[in-house]
Amino acid sequence: MIHLLQANISTSAPSSYLPIGLQIAFAAGLVALLMVLTHLLGPRRKTSDKLQNFTSGIESHGDARQPMAIKYFLTAILFVLFDVEVIFFYPYAVNFKELGWAGFGAVLMFVGFFLCGFIYIIKKGALKWED
């Protein structure tokens, strides 16, 4: 049986790129199909109220591209930091069984340092939005 979506990495013949090509065709085709279908099937009533942006019943005014409150910045940055640190779990997850308890201890230490940082930012009030 031919696995259509299973690339054969041992050879670099053009045919081994077939799964990738299939995936791209499928993704593009799905998007195109959905767009065409909604366009054809959806009812349309073009009144001025319908064309306005809907924001929970409040009259919209001004431009959406206004500067955001800077306090979200800190939360975003902290998210990026903690999010990226997680990539160290990937190699651990792959070698979970081989590393055994020693590896578990090491990861526990890593998470411990991590938690210290988290407690620190909470205590410093970096996650408080209202002031």
Partner: protein
């Protein structure tokens, strides 16, 4: 290893001490006790008592040279905290403990850089050193100069990190490993990947130690940063990166010496020239010290050029002498509110003790005999002479050392031979402890100038 683990833990302890303790004096005491513990644990490690037995693999190797420099670095930070710890309060009391936490993290990076055995650890160490420095540079949040300095430092520092990483990647392509002792330079000596990678590493390391032509960020950053933190980053950190520099070029690229030696010689000469000549024209003592740090980096580059036993001993002595003297001068400077030469007018009459110790520090930086600075410069020159080639470099270095006397003596002249006029700035009355530490440091500089074996014997016994 003791000190490395302990410094990371102490950094976290300092972070939380800021939340638990409210009085700055208490936080400072915790930091001083921490530094003493660190120094003791490092000395114990040097004499063979290890708290942790960890298989370091190809990543780290602690040799005597690294241990000794680590001790010097911890001692310098201790002196720094004793002298300028109180002045840091002026930058911001709210985050007072965090600054000390950053010092401990920088020390952690220093231990990695001085004993790396793998390019991965070198990269991590350099980053652990520089990222806290970006924060310290910009810690005076309302001051536009501080903002500007930190942004400049950050953009340029990140750029040079990119260069270093590209160098490491190319070397990895040529060698197939990051462990510097497994490098096989004889197999493929002229591999373009290897040469390109080595040059990129050379440039990025030159950037980190502010050697010409990559020194342009230094004066602005040192001038813009709060004075107390300039003192930290211009001394201990610079000396530590030099130790990493010489370790990299000795252990990893030693066999390629014919390829890079001329580059380093030219860089050293350019650094000496730019640093000394520009320092002559400065009107502010702080900016003069920034250029003087470039000039001193030029002298330390001579050790990289020579790369022999004298060079390594000399670099250690140079690091200690330069760091101690500069920390002393900055500690006095951070108690003044104006950094022009005129503000030193008549200081000797008002503060005879402070002026006397300051004179010793300046003489040491200028390389006058009987001080540690003289012997350090002497070791450097001796090391270059021992290589037997490029004697023009020796003559040039001596010439530039003579130029440096001019701008260091301008401060001494202002202190002793000028009347205190309307320009002379107010000088915060120092406490007894400050004066004692200042005298101790001055005595240490003279002692090292007379008996360098006090420090260097530790390398062998």
């Amino acid at each position: 290893m003791n000190a490395l683990v302990l410094s990371a833990i102490l950094g976290v302890v300092m972070m939380f001490s800021g939340i638990l303790l409210k009085r700055p004096a208490a936080i400072r005491s915790v930091a001083i006790i921490g530094l003493l513990l660190l120094l003791a644990s490092n000395m114990l490690d040097m004499s063979g008592t290890r708290f942790f037995s960890i298989n370091l693999g190809d990543f780290l190797h602690f040799d005597r040279f690294a241990f000794l420099f680590n001790s010097v670095a911890i001692f310098c930070v201790l002196v720094y905290v004793l002298l300028t710890g109180k002045a840091i309060e002026r930058v911001g009391v709210k985050n007072y403990a965090d600054y000390f936490a950053l010092f401990f993290f920088v020390l952690c990076g220093i231990f990695l850089v001085t004993s790396f055995q793998s390019l991965l650890i070198l990269f991590l160490g350099i980053e652990i050193i520089t990222i806290p420095l970006y924060i310290l540079t910009g810690s005076d949040k309302r001051n536009l100069k501080s903002n500007e300095a930190s942004l400049k430092y950050f953009l340029m520092g990140a750029f040079s990190t990119g260069l270093m990483l590209m160098g490491i990647a190319l070397i990895y392509g040529a060698q197939g490993t990051f462990a510097i002792e497994k490098f096989n330079l004889l197999k493929i000596p002229g591999s373009p990947l290897m040469i390109a990678g080595m040059l990129l590493m050379l440039f990025s390391m030159a950037f980190k130690v502010s050697a010409a032509p990559l020194h342009f960020w230094t004066p602005d950053v040192y001038d813009g940063a709060p004075t107390v933190f300039t003192s930290f980053m211009a001394t201990v950190v610079k000396a530590a990166v030099f130790i990493g520099f010489i370790r990299l070029f000795e252990n990893a690229f030693g066999l390629l010496q014919p390829t890079w030696q001329l580059w380093v010689a030219l860089m050293a000469a350019a650094t000496l020239f730019v640093g000394n000549i520009t320092a002559v024209f400065q009107q502010s003592v702080k900016r003069m010290l920034a250029y003087s740090s470039i000039a001193q980096a030029g002298f330390m580059m001579l050790a990289i050029f020579a790369l022999n036993g004298d060079a390594k001993e000399g670099l250690l002595l140079y690091g200690a002498a330069y760091s101690l003297a500069t920390i002393g001068i900055f500690s006095v400077l951070s108690r003044m509110d104006d950094y022009s030469y005129e503000s030193f007018n008549g200081l000797a009459a008002r503060q005879p003790l402070v002026a006397a110790t300051l004179t010793i520090f300046l003489l040491s930086l200028a390389g006058i005999p009987l001080t540690a600075g003289f012997l350090a410069k002497f070791y450097m020159i001796k090391a270059v002479v021992a290589t037997g080639s490029n004697l023009w470099l020796v003559v040039f270095a001596l010439l530039m050392a003579a130029v440096s006397v001019y701008y260091y003596f301008r401060v001494i002249q202002a202190m002793y031979f000028r009347e205190a006029g309307e320009h002379s700035a107010s000088f915060q009355e120092p406490g007894k402890g400050f004066k004692w530490v200042l005298v101790l440091v001055a005595a240490l500089i003279i002692a090292l100038g007379l008996f360098p074996s006090l420090l260097l014997n530790w390398l062998y016994f």
